[in-house]
Amino acid sequence: MGIVPSSTSATSPRWGWLLLSFARREVLDRYAGSASGLAWTLLHPLAQLAIFAFVFSRIFRIGVPAAYPGVDYVSFVAIALWPWIMFSEGIQRALGSIAANAGLVRKVAFPHRLLVFASMIGTCAVHCAGYLAVLLVLRLAGEPIRLSGLPYAFVLLVPYMLLATGLAAFLAALQTLLRDVEHVVQVLLQMLFYASPILYPASLVPASLQGVVHANPLGWFSERLREVLLRGSAPVPGDLAIAIACVAVFALGLWFFERLSPHFEDFL
């Protein structure tokens, strides 16, 4: 079976604009029709942060480890929380992107992966803005956040989000064929959230489980982002190793997606 695509080849740079249009739509559609619009995308994580800060620092009394002197629990959590929100929300939005655009997938020839990418890009764009704003506000409030670490923090976000995109592509393809996936993913994401050192420092984990925490890329990224933004840590070889692993997951997820993508139309 051979398909010789016309000039509508998927590698053509002309799709760049389509991807941007999709991403823009992804951002604008989020709260289309709601009065406060984009404000909700910032308020929602802030509310989550407030709840976690209250429950975990006031009630469970989880302290910030001594390695981060003078850091408030709010800053400690915020640094890892926003990337997590990009990760989980991006996956969830990408998961439904094929079905949400069924009209397009069934009638127009275009690379379907653009829908997954656009969901991730749109989600990251919105929350990166929120992340920056929160970090700046915390800095102004006197938290010892090192703004000089910001560029490298965003470099670290790239493999983090590539990992999310790879998983999202895999799950989106699966979801198109099997409608159960989204329910399973919701549960899995919740488990992953509490299993990763986002609300608590990795050092709090019992020694017998330390290996698991270190093998978890989300744990790695959360810890590294804190080190970079609160202690001005320099890049370490582990960053590169985990980045390579993330690129591998991205490539595998995309391969799986491309394998099933010609059949999407059959299932929508």
Binding site: M1, V105, K107, A109, F110, L177, R259
Partner: protein, 413 residues
């Protein structure tokens, strides 16, 4: 609206692919998986991943071949659910066939459903940008074309309103305008002319004619045989996922219409039960003017109905012939009595008769000739035979009326 396409001769000199057919389908088969239950979905997923072909499915297309060369226009006709849209989707590479080879060269513009790339919350103008992006235009190209698109769509100030407030006709106008602005080498349209109003249809047809005259290639799927005959040289008739007929657009549309006429025709009368004690038709057939038996005649050709009738009392029988179209619509009939006709006695109790139809006036199509024996009141016997009139015409109705277009005189006084 201009149709700027690279002239075929210069491009073929540079690009050897230009000489190859734009579309070449070989043995295209498309199976859609049956995914009613979760179990079906799981099994289908497994067979897709393992590349095994044992999933529950139904066949939408069955070994379809099609070659479309540059500059050709091909109509695709068929009943609802015959597989036309699936075929177009495969050519537009929206759907991958289960087996078979697809090769499509050149820039393809597909209008598989008007308004499909449209987002209801966005204005017409915003949607022009989005659907141009979907069709593969760059932002700069789209910006250069947007005014022409707005002008062609001609929906006034609605262009800056959200699409959800549009009527279906308005969405169609916009969709067609966007597709035409792409200036595709191959334009695929699926039932899009049917939606717009009369004046927009005319505009579309005029544009398509200009596009074809400029060397464009068209694949038109339509239920309007008029559009197929007007715009297409060739036609493909798809039935139950397979090609039932391919050829000249006039022949295919005629056969297709005949098929529908026969389908809607009342059930045929039961086999005749001629009684030997009554006058009956022994046999009847049609032949050409030169006396050779035939059942297919060109439009305007002279043909002859020949027959033999039997009369138990050895008297010249009274005859009646009637011509009906395949769907049972009566065309013409006449009594031998009225003409004072007496059949020729060729043997004891056997009488030969013939009716000559000079330069027959029937329009192309399938017809049935019925020959009866009767007396003043009673029909004794009915003999039926079929014949076909071929030809290319855009005339309507059953027969061609002799006519001439002459200078008008205006209102007198």
């Amino acid at each position: 609206m201009t149709v700027a396409q690279a002239p075929a001769d210069t491009s073929s000199a540079r690009d050897p692919k230009a000489a190859a057919p734009l579309v070449c389908l070989r043995g295209i088969t498309k199976d859609y998986p049956k995914v009613a239950t979760g179990g079906d979905r799981l099994r289908t997923l497994a067979s897709l991943l393992l590349r095994r072909g044992d999933m529950p499915h139904f066949r939408a297309l069955d070994h379809v071949d099609l070659v479309v060369r540059r500059g050709e226009s091909v109509g695709i006709v068929g009943e609802n659910g015959a597989g036309k849209s699936t075929l177009l989707k495969i050519i537009a590479s929206v759907v991958r066939p289960t087996s078979g080879e697809v090769s499509v060269l050149g820039r393809v513009g597909a209008l598989l459903e008007l308004g499909s790339g449209f987002h209801p919350e966005y204005t017409g103008r915003e949607n022009i940008y989005l659907s141009s992006a979907l069709m593969g235009l760059s932002r700069r190209e789209a910006r250069a074309k947007v005014d022409g698109i707005v002008e062609f769509a001609d929906i006034g100030e609605h262009i800056d309103e959200p699409i959800k407030h549009y009527s279906s006709g308005m969405a169609v106008r916009l969709g067609f305008a966007v597709a035409t602005a792409l200036e595709p080498e191959l334009l695929i349209t699926d039932e899009v002319l049917a939606v717009g109003d009369e004046s927009f249809q005319k505009k579309c047809i005029a544009w398509l004619e200009g596009y074809l005259a400029g060397g464009g290639t068209l694949l038109l799927c339509s239920h309007s045989m008029f559009h197929v005959k007007t715009l297409c040289q060739r036609a493909l008739w798809i039935q139950h996922g397979a090609v039932r007929m391919e050829g000249n657009a006039f022949d295919v549309t005629r056969e297709y219409l005949t098929y529908h006429e026969e389908k809607s025709a009342p059930a045929r009368p039961a086999d005749r039960f001629a009684r030997p004690d009554l006058p009956r038709i022994e046999s009847a057939w049609t032949e050409r003017a030169d006396g050779s038996a035939a059942a297919t005649f060109a439009q305007g050709e002279t043909f002859v109905l020949q027959g033999i009738a039997q009369h138990p009392d050895d008297l010249p029988p009274v005859l009646l012939f009637g011509i009906v179209r395949a769907d049972g619509t009566p065309v013409y009939g006449s009594h031998s009595n009225d003409a004072g006709y007496r059949p020729v006695r060729v043997a004891p109790r056997e009488y030969a008769f013939a009716v000559r139809f000079e330069s027959n006036a029937l329009l192309p199509g399938k017809y049935r000739m019925r020959v009866h024996t009767l007396d003043g009141l009673r029909l004794f016997d009915t003999f039926e035979l079929e014949f076909v009139v071929t030809g290319e015409t855009r005339d309507y109705g059953l027969v061609r009326m002799p006519h001439a277009w002459v200078p008008g005189r205006g209102r007198t006084g």
